[in-house]
């Protein structure tokens, strides 16, 4: 029994080596450059929107930042709906995942996909399949941070 499981572990290891040897590799340099360019452009666009709200509309810093998020999320939802955002994603990888537009895409895509399963358990529930974890971990850790800040103040 002992040798059998040992043999299997060896077999698995050897096969993993063979797969790694024969598998095609991702082009790291190309992927990183594309992610940098597209991600940088989205952030530059964000800066433009922020400046518009901060200087033209005379919003405060916090409000201008929130307004920027809302605008970018709207644009992302529109491009996702029109079937453009997945093509940007195919090109840019993390360049269009990491910005807030990527978060919006991860809300809109499953919502559209599950429209045919109904408005409540389809759209309503599936809207959060990908974005839910982001909110769980983001909000959850912010509560922990708040609690730590509270106890540090008390002590």
């Amino acid at each position: 029994m002992e040798t059998k499981s040992h043999n299997r572990a060896q077999q698995i290891e050897r096969y993993a080596g063979l797969v790694a040897r024969l598998a095609p590799k991702s082009d790291m340099a190309k992927g990183v450059v594309r992610a940098f360019l597209v991600g940088g452009l989205i952030c530059t666009l964000g800066q433009g929107i922020t400046d518009f709200f901060a200087y033209k509309m005379e919003f405060g810093t916090q409000a201008a930042s929130t307004a920027t998020s809302i605008c970018l999320i709207f644009l992302s939802a529109l491009l996702t709906g029109l079937g453009v955002y997945d093509r940007i994603g195919k090109f840019a990888g993390a360049g269009s995942i990491v910005p807030i537009t990527g978060f919006a895409n991860s809300v809109v895509a499953p919502a559209m996909e599950f429209r045919r399963e109904g408005l409540v358990m389809g759209v309503g529930a599936k809207l959060f399949t990908l974005a839910g974890p982001v909110l769980v971990y983001g909000i959850g850790s912010s509560v922990i941070v708040g609690l730590i800040a509270f106890f540090m103040e008390v002590m």
């Binding site: 993993a16 797969v19 024969l22 991702s26 895409n105 991860s106 895509a109 499953p110 996909e113």
Partner: protein
């Protein structure tokens, strides 16, 4: 007299025949190298239906109807339908069988379903349990994506080892007894594959998960029948893709089997051209099924191919097992097919 040969193979001495076959594929498949050979192309991914799932089962239904009409028969002449697909609870096959009203056995072998159904169909025909039966399967890019991967509009990159699920369906009508006498392509053996798992956990690398099973089934068929690559014009695999095919060659060589690479035809490698950007090639039940109906079976009937070993390969995973970190079991079932000269 026992029909068993060796550990995993059965012989089919009465030689069940292939009466007719039909294939239907999507747009992308029609733009591939074999695009002109499929019987029918669906207009768009909705196929005139209100959901992708309905589009998929309509394709399966139409492939069966087309196959039956190509044989010059009625649906009521078909005694059995052996079908399956990739979707949960094999809904495409079950729902298609509801409309077709043919007695139905549902099968699941993931992408190996077409050779699984041909194996079982061949045995049923040889055993005298059915004279006319249809083996069929289908897959659809959009239904497979949403079940196994991500929503269509999500902006992600596919990995280099990923394969493209074929939108397509294939149906093969088999005949036993007297009806088989007129067939130019016949089944001679079936080898049932073992489920093998060499620890691949990446759900975007199906070719690597299935290659060990393909190797094992080919080796078993050769050992059981005393045959080798020399005895076949082609060994046709289902959807190993480019990486899986390379791995299969390597694994067979490790076993001491000499592999003439030009005799190894993988439907997943062939169905799309490199410029179609499918990475490691095609996959899905419909890949092998539509390719044998469009290319291999016609070549066998015409006598351009004399003997073929066909094994479709399946990855027996589900989204649940992937999330639980389980590795991916693979399976491959083989059938040996031959051309029979008229009057022989």
């Amino acid at each position: 007299m026992s029909k068993r040969m060796g550990a995993q193979t059965v012989s089919l001495p009465s030689r069940p025949g292939v009466l007719a076959f039909a294939s239907i594929v999507g747009q992308k498949e029609s733009e591939g190298p074999y695009g002109g050979k499929f019987d029918r192309i669906i207009e768009d991914e909705m196929n005139g239906q209100k959901s992708f799932e309905a589009a998929e089962r309509a394709m399966l239904e139409d492939a069966v109807r087309l196959c039956v009409s190509k044989a010059g028969r009625q649906l009521s002449d078909v005694q059995l339908l052996l079908a399956g697909d990739l979707l949960n609870q094999i809904i495409s096959a079950g729902f298609a069988a509801r409309s077709l009203a043919i007695p139905f056995y549902g099968l699941y072998g993931a992408c190996s379903t077409i050779s699984e159904s041909l194996s079982i169909g061949g045995m049923l025909a040889d055993g005298g349990f059915a004279d006319v039966l249809v083996c069929a399967t289908c897959s659809h890019f959009c239904t497979a994506e949403r079940q196994y991967r991500t929503p269509l509009e999500l902006g992600t990159q596919r990995t280099p080892t990923a394969q493209w699920t074929v939108t397509g369906s294939g149906a093969v009508m088999l005949a036993g007894g007297a009806a088989a006498k007129s067939c130019a392509a016949v089944l001679t053996h079936a080898t049932c594959g073992k489920v093998l798992d060499l620890g691949i956990t990446d759900a975007n690398n199906m070719g690597a998960a299935m290659a060990p099973a393909a190797c094992d089934t080919i080796a078993a068929h050769f050992a059981d029948t005393g045959r080798g690559f020399d005895d076949f014009d082609l060994v046709v695999t289902g959807d190993l893709g480019h990486l899986g095919r390379d791995l299969l060659i390597e694994l067979l060589r490790e076993k001491g089997v000499k592999v003439p690479e030009e005799k190894l035809f993988d439907c997943g490698c062939e169905i799309f051209s490199p410029r179609q950007d499918t990475h490691s090639g095609g996959s899905g039940c419909g890949c092998a099924a539509s390719m044998i109906c469009a290319h291999i079976l016609p070549e066998l009937e015409a006598g351009h191919l004399n003997r073929v070993l066909f094994l479709a390969t399946g990855a027996l995973l589900s989204p649940t097992t992937t999330m639980q970190g389980e590795s991916i079991p693979g399976v491959a079932h083989a059938v040996a097919l031959e051309h029979r000269k008229a009057g022989a």
